[in-house]
Symmetry: C2
Subunit: 358 residues, 2 copies
Amino acid sequence: MTPERIAIRVRDTESVVWVGRGALDDPGRFLVSESGRWLLVSSRNAGAAAARLRDALSPHAILDLEIDDSEEAKTLEVVRTIADRALEAGVRRDDAFVAAGGGVVTDLVGFAAAIVLRGVPWNAVPTTVAGMADAAIGGKTGVDHPLGKNLIGAFHPPRAILVDPSAAATLPDRDYRSGLVEAFKAAWIADEDLARRAESGVGRLLARDEDALFELLLGAVRVKAEVVESDPFERGPRRVLNFGHTLGHAFEAAGGYRTLRHGEAVAWGIAAALAISLDRAGLSDADAVRIRSVLGRLGPFPEPDRSPGALEPLLLRDKKATSRGLAGVLLEAIGRARVEEAIPVSDWIAAAERAAIG
Amino acid sequence: MTPERIAIRVRDTESVVWVGRGALDDPGRFLVSESGRWLLVSSRNAGAAAARLRDALSPHAILDLEIDDSEEAKTLEVVRTIADRALEAGVRRDDAFVAAGGGVVTDLVGFAAAIVLRGVPWNAVPTTVAGMADAAIGGKTGVDHPLGKNLIGAFHPPRAILVDPSAAATLPDRDYRSGLVEAFKAAWIADEDLARRAESGVGRLLARDEDALFELLLGAVRVKAEVVESDPFERGPRRVLNFGHTLGHAFEAAGGYRTLRHGEAVAWGIAAALAISLDRAGLSDADAVRIRSVLGRLGPFPEPDRSPGALEPLLLRDKKATSRGLAGVLLEAIGRARVEEAIPVSDWIAAAERAAIG
């Protein structure tokens, strides 16, 4: 089977996403390195996918580094380690990194690639569902800071992204289910038809049917590609991809990045955004019920900390806050989202209390 | 006096360079901040210029940070400090940094601005001659690494650059003279007429005549602006700006960044590049003599370490080395330079031994 090819042009870089089983059978065919030399950086959890990459690339790999894939490892220090090891290996501007793992690994390696020699090309091989649907596409890379998530980083799109649903086969159930939240999010904000098909396929998705997963991921990648290409630097329309993420990030931080997976926090963030959307964006009850029902079947998810004392300082420090207020993404209907520029923090906190799943 | 305005368009960023006495009289007129808020980062040596900026910006400054301006301070740790302080101050994407100092400060602040919130605008106020002629223009930012100079960094052009020759009035003589090397370099690679005028004005330049300095800086900025705009990512023609820098960086590193100022090392690097240019690029003896004579009057400069044992490993690790070899900039005539893709390291080392000034 030949993977589907989706090209995204951002400034002068073309990112090509290959979606399909088979992408990992012959990775050298899809990954890009001008010199033919590779710097492989993989997560300890990337397992079979990393092994297949290693087999394919090792004759010309100048680095093979394993790193930790947890949110606590998403730091400037780890980027520094990747940069040190790459420079010690003699990295040149015509070599290329290959990042294999979850969103933490692609964020770290993409950022290291952005700043080593002022920019070395890189490729992403996401091995989690959330990474395949979301994290590696669009060029946002970066690390966390004690004051918040992703506060340090760069825009540096990968040359190639390999999305092979078979890499998800060995994921723990909790990671698999929470990753599906990001894939559904893409459908809900921009593709009603995809959302309807995926909703009717939730059973097959939960049973790990690879065809159903392929179809959802392909649709999610197409949504993300279209949105990113229209607004590479997230000044306007791209912000709809943050649906569920404003409170999602706050829930995640309030739990110390331990009680909730990213996708679980986003599920609660989506549920809260539905409450605001019902009030301010004309979202119908029927659409809200459909989304809550899917989230319920992907869950159950651990309860977030909804206390205003925990959420308020986190919202005020949000990276997307400007002098005009805290912007939010609202759903007008399934398949149609818009950005509202200044939603008061008190409304966010009230929505967090009302958020319901199931 | 109204400063001269030179605009450089790089991708979607317009950098405007203001050259002239008066730029620092009313800096708020020329610096750019969308929100009107400023983050001032200045060198301890920026003295009067920093004080004038502070006076002008302080009502809307959310940060006023002094940092060290020495090459040893050009590290990722200092960038981290700048980022920490900016985030603690509540920096937003519509705020702007202002860097005041030498090339180390503009490189550090520009890089911090590139990675905080994935990119915050910045402005440069170079206070050294080398910085005015070269360092702040074109968007190359970054830090040193134990393995070499500028090995970690980003392309992030400043919105505005204020080049006010009066800021050079208080520079120590050694800094002033070595900075002139970078300004002359711009003339030698691309503007024969400017070179001739500046050569006949060396006496006035050394006497700190501000009109002569203004004329040379304006010409050097125009050369750099034109070259950078034609090749923002240094894939082709922009590399001519590295004239004298391949061995210059090696000399500087061989001296542990202590025995030679950057401009002094570049002076020796230019002298060595003249030797190669005589052999391989048809440079005339008369032109080589003219350049050596100017360098002699700007000097004397401390002797570099020319030993092959010190230089060879540094050249092999040069950031501009590719799988095809070590590229170098040669002079065909005063005002006309070209890049030669693969000059053997042995030729560089032989040229280092032959380099003569005066």
